[in-house]
């Protein structure tokens, strides 16, 4: 092995060591002392969200598709909430297909969205902008 190769391996080893530690922190840390943890019903909703590709058109925290609206705070939004969500699920508006969810499934999806809603805000209207380009988000548990 040449000197240059040894040197490259050394840099990669250092980077991978940092990467492993960094991943360890990401995997084990939570957003706060009391992180939002899904219940069985919410996890059922999450599964339905995934199996029906809701993310293809909708977003949570701006992540997902762009054909439909972001649903991060749909649960607590003014004039919206559980009944509004349920009404949309099986009605087939515009590009949204008519799903045939049972009442139990609709409740599971609403519960999942309720849990997402409880984790934070999007858009984060009360975020504070710093002069170095940083943005301080408003956290839901700050209230």
């Amino acid at each position: 092995m040449t000197k240059k190769t040894t040197y490259n391996f050394l840099i990669i080893t250092i980077l991978i060591t940092f990467f492993a530690v960094f991943n360890g922190f990401i995997y084990t840390s939570n957003e706060n002392e009391n992180p939002v943890k899904l219940t069985e019903q919410a996890m059922h909703g999450q599964r339905l969200w995934q199996e029906n590709n809701c993310w293809s058109c909708h977003q949570t925290y701006g992540l997902g598709g762009y054909l439909g609206p972001d649903l991060t705070n749909i649960y607590s939004a003014e004039n919206k909430g559980p009944s509004y969500i349920k009404a949309f699920l099986n009605s087939g508006v515009k590009a949204m297909p008519k799903f045939n969810f049972s009442e139990e499934e609709k409740n599971a999806l609403v519960t999942y969205l309720k849990f997402i809603d409880s984790t934070g805000y999007y858009p984060n209207y009360k975020a504070k902008f710093k002069s170095n380009g940083w943005v301080e988000l408003e956290y839901k548990n700050e209230k």
Partner: protein, 441 residues
């Protein structure tokens, strides 16, 4: 001796490109006519078809190119031809499985990897075979690796790591914590893209060194500096996807700091811009050269965009809008696709020859490609700016009204998408024909 498996990788990849852009066009049409195909194949099913197929193009063309370079250009003896054929067989059968999973609605995966998650196992196995074959071949026969060999090796290893990481949601520990789950999911996607970029950018440096007939571009200290910078970004610079997710601030801060190092790349590119053009021996590989010049342009545009929205204060307004889509289209079509098409043209120059007429058609196709991609890209930026304005300054109107107001932008987006599909076909079809002919002879 011919490497038929490598050529089959490339043919499948080109077919995926042509089919993938067609799926994209069908999905775009649903923005204009929401009822279109709604009963047969609604948007939420069409989008995975499009995304998976274009990812297939990138992955298979990069893989096929690497196998071809090693065996046909570098004349290395592959550790195992059987492993390569097994790799090809596994990917082809799994690809078929993915489409069947989509057709029968078994989409229990997540964004970008929507297929039933069990199919990830053969994909990982395929990457593992590629890795074994690659490292066993290279470690035995090459002592002092140029940077592109490091990049391909790193790309393969990190593909395995991040494809695995993208499925950590299968463990309740991850999926029951909404924020952690979102963070890990988007961390893996950011790095997953970084991994295929290692393969693709490695190909571009390889091609540049071959065109110049000078290997120093792949061996100098600066190339290695950029390689390690890219690797650092792959590992730690993904969090601009999740700036807006209420994770712990230090996670976002690390990403902000690391992302900003990419300004060095941009500064260097501006400095080297003219110098690179004059040094390159473009006469030997005129088509490959033209595509790489195109890549330079798109890297420049996309890096500026990416760097801007890596600044949290800007990201705040662009996140969740079509500006992000513009960036991903700009990078996958403008950068990855032009490099990979350059690679295919380089491979064609080794196995066959284009007539002057064919060369002229491909050059015209490239002009069409650049113009239409630029307009397509611009229409997405406009749509993104409008959405951002609606989110932060016009929230008194409904989402539906905002979408309706974008009708003409979506129309432009669709029309240029169609023109782009035509340009890609003009370039891709003669290449496909050459590859198929080569295989048949």
């Amino acid at each position: 001796m011919k490497n038929k498996a490598a050529i089959i990788f490339l043919i499948t990849a080109l077919l995926a490109l042509l089919i993938g852009v067609f799926f994209g066009l069908m999905a775009a049409l649903q923005y204009l006519i929401p009822e279109f195909l709604k009963e047969i194949i609604p948007f939420h099913k069409m989008r995975p078809f499009h995304v998976t197929t274009v990812i297939t193009w990138i992955v298979l063309s990069a893989t096929g190119s690497i196998y071809f370079y090693l065996t046909q250009v570098e004349k290395l003896k592959l550790f195992s031809n059987k492993l390569m054929k097994l790799h090809l067989g596994i990917f082809l059968i799994t690809g078929l499985g993915i489409y069947l999973s989509y057709i029968f609605g078994k989409m229990d995966g997540r964004e970008y990897l929507a297929f039933t998650h069990i199919l990830t196992i053969p994909i990982l196995f395929g990457w593992l075979l590629f890795g074994i074959n690659y490292f066993k071949t290279m470690l035995k026969q090459i002592n002092n690796w140029p940077v592109y060999y490091w990049m391909w090796g790193t790309g393969i290893v990190f593909m395995i790591i991040h494809l695995t990481e993208a499925h950590l949601w299968l463990f309740p520990y991850f999926r029951e914590h909404v924020i952690k789950d979102l963070t890990v999911q988007w961390k893996s996607y950011g790095s997953f893209v970084g991994s295929w970029n290692m393969l693709v950018y490695g190909i571009s440096i390889y091609l540049m060194s071959k065109i110049k007939g000078d290997d120093s571009i792949g061996r100098n200290k600066l190339s290695f500096f950029f390689y390690f910078l890219g690797l650092t970004n792959l590992m730690f610079g993904w969090a601009h996807h999740t700036y807006i997710v209420p994770t712990l601030p230090w996670i976002r801060f690390v990403a902000y700091g690391v992302s900003m190092t990419e300004w060095i790349i941009l500064g260097y590119m501006i400095y080297e811009w003219k110098k690179n053009l004059s040094q390159t021996k473009k006469e030997s590989y005129p088509l490959t050269y033209k595509f790489l010049v195109t890549t330079d342009f798109w890297i420049f545009i996309n890096l500026i965009l990416a760097l801007l929205f890596s600044i949290p204060a800007i990201n705040f307004f662009t996140h969740g809008t079509h500006i992000t889509v513009a960036h991903s289209m700009g990078t996958t079509i403008g950068i990855n696709t032009t490099i990979l098409l350059a690679s295919l043209l380089f491979i064609i120059s080794k196995i066959s020859i284009f007539t002057k007429k064919q060369e002229k058609i491909i050059k015209r196709g490239l002009w069409g490609f650049n113009i239409t991609l630029f307009l397509f890209f611009t229409s997405l930026l406009i749509a993104g700016a409008r959405r951002s304005h609606w989110m932060y300054a016009g929230n008194d109107t409904s989402f539906s009204s905002m979408q309706d107001s974008l009708f003409w932008v979506y129309m432009v987006f669709f029309v240029f998408g169609m023109a782009l599909t035509t340009s890609i076909s003009i370039i891709g079809l003669p290449i496909l024909k050459k590859l198929i002919n080569y295989l048949r002879i």
